[in-house]
Symmetry: C2
Subunit: 307 residues, 2 copies
């Protein structure tokens, strides 16, 4: 690709890295010095699937690409260290888009406390960003999806339904509530909350990206338990309530299945002191699957019966 | 994406991993237990840029996606450990393509001695594969691009020009020489050669992906030296010679600038015993840039003066 090296030089100029980085951009690979085991996750963002150019400024796409990955490290209770970013884009794309994207990457890296240490660039018919995040266990056990035990409580940290509500707003051609739109364009991750949950004794944890019920379903399946969600305990953001009212949909539907929340859901022993900001929303029971207020939830019926 | 979970289950069924893998696919992140520092690189392969569906079987694309990444770890003299693979593809793509791609990924992982530990899937208008490879230093210093010293010898390991010749063959609608086409579709990496070079005292090393001269230029620039290539020492594969003859181009042009070779080029102290298979092809001198047989090379003139 013409200008690749110049563009890489431009977007990595003055790049600062944390003390755990041994070798940053500019070689065949990057090198980081980690404590304990190495934790790795990758997420690919595709134009017109995960974002639209007319909705998302390049800076927001860059931030989101980092945020959704680091959120997956948080969900292991691990310390995020660094990211590598591969970006493919059309040859006729304004180079400023790439510069703004990389500025978003760098800004979110600062917010997350991680270093941008490498990447790749290619031409492509559409924009595709693939970020891989690296973290470490610092010698602690990672918190998996399989450790929930009967008697545990279920708790969440972060916004539920706000991103899904923002998507509905954008799809209808509107721009407000602004908080919902902003949350959809760049999820606001509570960095450090995964480690706080691990320190508080979380037995299982997951990044809520497919919707709360779907992701609690992964914990239930992998832990061999049933999870019951108490709808009365669920937080309903004002903006979610407004979008729900405007669209005639039940607000709890956004909260239970909005998608792309990038909140954390975890299980804790019943006597655990939950870290600040975590909210109890359910319980771990014998059995299988996820129930809502004790009743089997039939996803095919949609959310109307919650209205 | 409909069927994503079923497809992931299908392509990861019976997945075997090496003993350094603590947690493989199925959680928010994977965990590996490494020795020394963690080494990371990422490469993105885009349909119609890095491969064409009508030329490359899915299995070959999967193999290539792993190979080009692990080659970047080899170029650091490091031990490859594992890969994560993100794949985006059209909703109407035959699922068998994805299954074959993942089989290629798994086969190349076996060849490279690495474990597939995670990934992501998305829909997309075109096929995009992004692999991130993880390795470790085993407590040794990684071999960077900046360590070449005046008086060192320059050596290469692997095929030069064969992939570029294969691309020309495919572009002209032919299928032979088969060895050139096969090398373009899936580069044959000499796994373990990077570590062997490091053990033999390599002072600088690079994965030859942009063409030998271009990549030696990176070593020259980052090491603050001049590199002179001796064309009489360059290996010219029979298939490269045949393609060169058929197309009226000088064979040495393919060797010096073919691209996508994924050979290794390294510098060694003059008295080093080169590992088997490495070939001396040049010398490290005071100055800057890359020269060919002592003369400045003018890329804009093309390769005709080598004919």
């Amino acid at each position: 690709m013409t200008g690749e090296f110049e563009l890489i030089a431009r977007v990595t100029e003055g790049l600062e890295v944390n003390s755990d980085v041994v070798l940053s951009v500019g070689d065949d690979s990057a090198v980081v010095s980690l404590q304990g085991d190495t934790v790795v996750c990758t997420d690919i963002l595709v134009e017109n699937v995960h974002f639209k150019r007319q909705w998302s400024p390049a800076h927001a796409v860059g931030r989101k690409a980092v945020a959704v990955n680091v959120s997956d490290l948080e969900a292991m209770g691990c310390r995020p260290s660094s990211v590598v970013v591969a970006l493919a884009f059309p040859k006729d794309l304004d180079p400023q888009w790439v510069v703004d994207f990389e500025a978003g990457v760098r800004d979110e890296c600062v917010a997350a406390g991680v270093s941008l240490i490498g990447g790749d660039m290619s031409s492509s018919e559409i924009i595709v960003a693939c970020v891989t995040a690296i973290g470490d266990t610092m010698g602690q056990q990672p918190v998996t999806r399989s450790g929930a035990r009967v008697g545990d409580v279920v708790a969440v940290r972060g916004n539920l339904g706000l991103s899904g509500a923002g998507l509905v707003v954008l799809q209808r051609g509107f721009g407000s509530p602004k908080s919902a739109v902003a949350e959809h364009l760049t999820p606001s991750i509570q960095y450090g909350e995964g480690r706080a949950a691990a320190a508080a004794g979380a037995t299982a944890m997951i990044d809520v990206s497919d919707g709360l019920l779907a992701d609690l379903g992964h914990i239930a399946e992998q832990s061999g338990v049933r999870i019951d969600v108490h709808t009365a305990s669920l937080p309903v953001d004002d903006a979610v309530a407004r979008v729900a009212a405007a669209t005639g949909k039940p607000a709890v539907g956004f909260v239970l299945a909005g998608g792309e929340d990038h909140a954390l859901a975890a299980t804790f022993p019943a006597d655990a002191d939950l870290p600040e900001g975590w909210l109890r929303i359910g319980s771990v029971l014998p059995g299988a699957g996820v129930t809502v207020d004790g009743a089997e939830f039939d996803g095919s019926r949609g959310w109307d019966h919650f209205g």
